[in-house]
Structures are given as structure tokens and as C-alpha cells.
């Protein structure tokens, strides 16, 4: 028997934290929320089909709209992620939700550091079909500060009806418009992007061309 069969690895998967920040306001009722839920199921399937991603990617979900701002999913390893079925209703407390998402990321990093777990740059991925109905200045400021120090990568995706100019003031990176309700394509892209993270260097890990789900 070759000695190589006895080689054992360090038991610490590096982590890639991803917060999904999702609009569940009343305007998402019907086809949009159904498509979003289908997209989340697709994300689960895609991540769990990749052994490495299932161990490295961590998913959290913050929703804004139905029941105000909710942490529907605390960080969980993708292998253990079970896609929730979201409901719609209410207005759009996006500013508050962004702050919750940024707090989750900060806390997760502290957990990684105190446990000596190596990690990749976290992502926050916001999807909305409108604009904030609450105050959002401080949230936008925090996003700018975090991006400036490369603390995370914040993406905003607008569904038809979204207030793209406002999103441009919140996100440093250019917001993208979803083509119709192609949430499934969007989440396939997201899962593929997360699976590519380990082979790339920071700064390029998020420079992935969005394809197939944006409307030009």
C-alpha cells in the first residue's frame, strides 16, 4: 500500500459567506415571489451538487417586506442549506435590512477569526423590485465603507419596477437588472460564481461576468 494513501488533510474548510438580501414586499406577490422561491431551490441544488462548494459556501438569508426585516436563515453551510419558501407582503424596509446583513457578515468574520478558519471575501447579494421605504443613508454609507476597505462585495439586482437610480446610490458596483423573472438563471450563475471563488484571487473573485439573466 502506498504511503500516499495514508496522507491526511487539515480539517478546516475555508469558508465563503454569502448573504442573500431579498425583497419580499407586497409587490412581489404572485409570479415574482414564486420565481424567487424556485430560484432559491435551484441555488440549494446547484451548491449541493458540488462537493467542495457544499462544504465551503455558507448561506444566510435576510428578507425585507413580509414581517418587516427577518433573518430567515442564519449562516449555514451550503450542504445543510434547505431553501425556505418565502411569502410576500408589507413595504420595503431595505435600509434596515442592509444593516442587518452587514452585521451578520461582521459577526461571521469574527467567528471565523476566533476559530482560526480561513475565509474568502464575503458576498452580499440584494434582490429588489422596488426601492427603500425606510431611511437608507447610513446603510449606503456602510456599504461604501465596507467596499472601500474590501470587507465584502455587495451586489444589487433589480427586478422590473426596481428603483435603479436609488440602487446606484446604495451599491458601489453597478446594479444589474434581472431579465423578467429569470431567478433560476440568476441563482445558477450565483452558485457557479461561488464555486469559482477558490481558484481566483480576491479582486477577481467577484469580477464574474453576469450572463444570461440580465436584461441589457
Amino acid at each position: 500500500m502506498s504511503d500516499l494513501q495514508n496522507v491526511e488533510f487539515v480539517n478546516a474548510d475555508p469558508r465563503c459567506a454569502c448573504v442573500l438580501l431579498l425583497d419580499t414586499s407586497g409587490s412581489m406577490r404572485g409570479a415574482p415571489i414564486d420565481a424567487l422561491n424556485q430560484g432559491l431551490r435551484t441555488l440549494q441544488t446547484e451548491l449541493q451538487a458540488d462537493e467542495l462548494a457544499a462544504r465551503r459556501v455558507e448561506v444566510a438569508i435576510v428578507t425585507f417586506g413580509y414581517n418587516g426585516v427577518q433573518v430567515v436563515q442564519e449562516f449555514v453551510t451550503a450542504g445543510q442549506f434547505s431553501a425556505p419558501t418565502l411569502q410576500s407582503g408589507g413595504d420595503t424596509p431595505m435600509g434596515h435590512a442592509i444593516n442587518v446583513a452587514l452585521d451578520l457578515v461582521r459577526a461571521r468574520k469574527e467567528t471565523y477569526r476566533s476559530n482560526g478558519v480561513p475565509y474568502y471575501q464575503p458576498w452580499v447579494f440584494m434582490i429588489t423590485d422596488g426601492g427603500p421605504t425606510d431611511t437608507w443613508d447610513s446603510a449606503a454609507q456602510r456599504v461604501k465603507e465596507e467596499e472601500a476597505k474590501k470587507g465584502l462585495a455587495f451586489f444589487a439586482v433589480g427586478v422590473a419596477g426596481a428603483n435603479m437610480p436609488t440602487l446606484s446610490q446604495i451599491a458601489v458596483r453597478q446594479p444589474l437588472l434581472l431579465d423578467g423573472l429569470r431567478f433560476v438563471d440568476l441563482f445558477v450563475w450565483l452558485s457557479q460564481s461561488q464555486r469559482r471563488v477558490s481558484g481566483s484571487k480576491v479582486g477577481e473573485q467577484t469580477a464574474l461576468p453576469p450572463a444570461g439573466w440580465t436584461s441589457v
Partner: protein, 271 residues
């Protein structure tokens, strides 16, 4: 991959392999890791390991060229200097980093000169690569490091020591490159009295399996079987390559993987 074609008897048995990571295979990218090994004399061996940046358009050329030019430079500096003082070794390593960087800038510059001839001009960034150099000299061990990857030795007491310095960045995939403007300031060059009987040099695709990031220590259950394997004169680089390509390894890392292992064969472990 550069291998010594030499009849120089050497006290080091060295095997190495660079293999394409599964994420690169999936994207149709070739292997962007490269490594080289040269024996200059019975007790002088030099090793280079380079990892091209994933986003760099010509990363594999960058890593191959960095390996070749740094080893050329080391060979020129160290040949026929039998009992090199440690300061000269540090200078030789620094010169090798500069030579590697220069070869990349010349390549990028030559491309720009060809722009009129219809060739696309590539900026230096297209050749971005990390580089680790190790010199095993008669009384000294020297390391030069630009970017991530790791080097580990087994010392006279049989303990594993990590010789490389971890990236100071927050993220696992944050590193510097030979093409970074301040590469020399960010490089680490260190020389120690040689007291190792085994050495491993690796790119970050293997580092993630073998080094505890929390405290930059070597994971003994990784290195002990690897050193046993390399000590066996009947083992081959093909076996090492197969190991790096195995499902067991690919389940834990999808990056390109390079591992070079050196074992002292004359029974000497200097104090």
C-alpha cells in the same frame, strides 16, 4: 516543468509535480502552476514553485518564465561557489527574484513592441504569478517568497517547521505577485543554517490541505506519509502526480496543485 539533466550525484532525492486544478479544468484553463528543480553540485540544489494568477490572461506563461529565469539566475550566482556564505545566498535569492520579474517585464514589453505587427500588447499584469525559491546549499537553506504557497522542513529533531510567512491579507485568496509594483518590499528572503533532512515546497492549492492557517503550523498527518513516500527510492513522480489528481485531493481543493518533496539521502543531518 524543468528537470535537471545532469550527472551530478546529489545528496537530495527530489520529486515534484504540478497538476491542473478541477476548477481550471472546468473552465478550460490549463495548469497555471509551474515548478523547477536543478542540481548544481552534490550538495547544492535549487527549487522554484510558481502559481499564476487565475485572472491573468497569460498566467501559465508567467509562472513558467518566472521559474526558468529565477533558476537560471540562481545557477549563475551559485555555480562554482562551494562554501557560500549566508549573505551571498540572500543576495543570490534577491537577484533571482529581480531576474524573474525582469523576464516578465521584458516579455510584456516585447509584446507591446510587436503591437504594430498585429500582436495584442499585454500588460505586465497578464503574467501575474507568485514565486517561492528554495536553495539547499552545503551549510545553508535559503528561501525567497513572493506571494502565497508554503515550504516546510523536518529538522534535526524530527519536528516540522514552516519556513514561509503567511499572507498578511484577510482573505485566503489574497496574495501578492511578482508583477506587483512593490514586490521586493513585499517579498521575504531568509537564510538559516541547514539542518533539515526533508523539505516540501507547495503552491496554495496544496497549502490549504497541509498547513494550519490558524497558526501557520504544518499538519504532521499530511507530511509524514509524504516524506515516507519520497524516501522510498522506488516511488515515482507519476505516483505523486496521480495522488494530486486523485478524487480524495480534489474533494478538498479545486485549485492548481504543486508539490515538490526533497529527502536527504546520505544520512547526514547537520546541526
Amino acid at each position: 516543468m524543468i528537470h535537471p539533466v545532469s550527472d551530478i550525484p546529489t545528496v537530495w532525492r527530489i520529486i515534484g509535480a504540478s497538476v491542473t486544478g478541477t476548477s481550471h479544468l472546468a473552465r478550460g484553463l490549463g495548469c497555471q502552476d509551474a515548478h523547477g528543480i536543478r542540481h548544481l553540485a552534490k550538495e547544492v540544489t535549487v527549487i522554484a514553485v510558481a502559481d499564476g494568477a487565475g485572472s491573468a490572461g497569460r498566467a501559465s506563461e508567467g509562472s513558467e518564465l518566472a521559474v526558468k529565469s529565477s533558476l537560471d539566475s540562481l545557477c549563475a550566482s551559485l555555480e562554482n561557489v562551494p562554501d557560500l556564505p549566508d549573505t551571498s545566498l540572500a543576495d543570490a535569492l534577491r537577484g533571482a527574484l529581480i531576474a524573474a520579474r525582469t523576464s516578465l517585464t521584458e516579455m510584456a514589453g516585447a509584446e507591446e513592441d510587436d503591437a504594430d505587427a498585429g500582436h495584442a500588447s499585454d500588460s505586465l499584469d497578464q503574467f501575474a504569478t507568485t514565486l517561492i525559491l528554495v536553495v539547499l546549499a552545503k551549510r545553508w537553506l535559503g528561501i525567497a517568497q513572493v506571494g502565497d504557497g508554503a515550504a516546510v522542513v523536518r529538522d534535526a529533531e524530527g519536528s516540522l517547521q514552516v519556513l514561509t510567512i503567511p499572507s498578511s491579507g484577510e482573505y485566503l485568496n489574497e496574495t501578492f505577485f511578482l508583477t506587483s509594483p512593490d514586490y521586493l518590499q513585499k517579498s521575504h528572503i531568509r537564510v538559516w543554517p541547514l539542518s533539515a533532512d526533508a523539505l516540501a515546497v507547495m503552491s496554495d492549492g496544496v497549502q490549504v490541505l497541509a498547513i494550519n492557517y490558524a497558526d501557520n503550523t504544518a499538519h504532521a498527518p499530511f507530511f509524514e506519509p509524504i516524506f515516507r513516500f519520497a524516501s522510498n527510492a522506488h516511488t515515482s513522480e507519476d505516483e505523486l502526480r496521480s495522488f494530486l489528481e486523485s478524487p480524495k485531493v480534489c474533494a478538498h481543493t479545486d485549485d492548481d496543485k504543486t508539490l515538490v518533496v526533497a529527502i536527504r539521502t546520505d544520512g547526514t543531518v547537520l546541526s
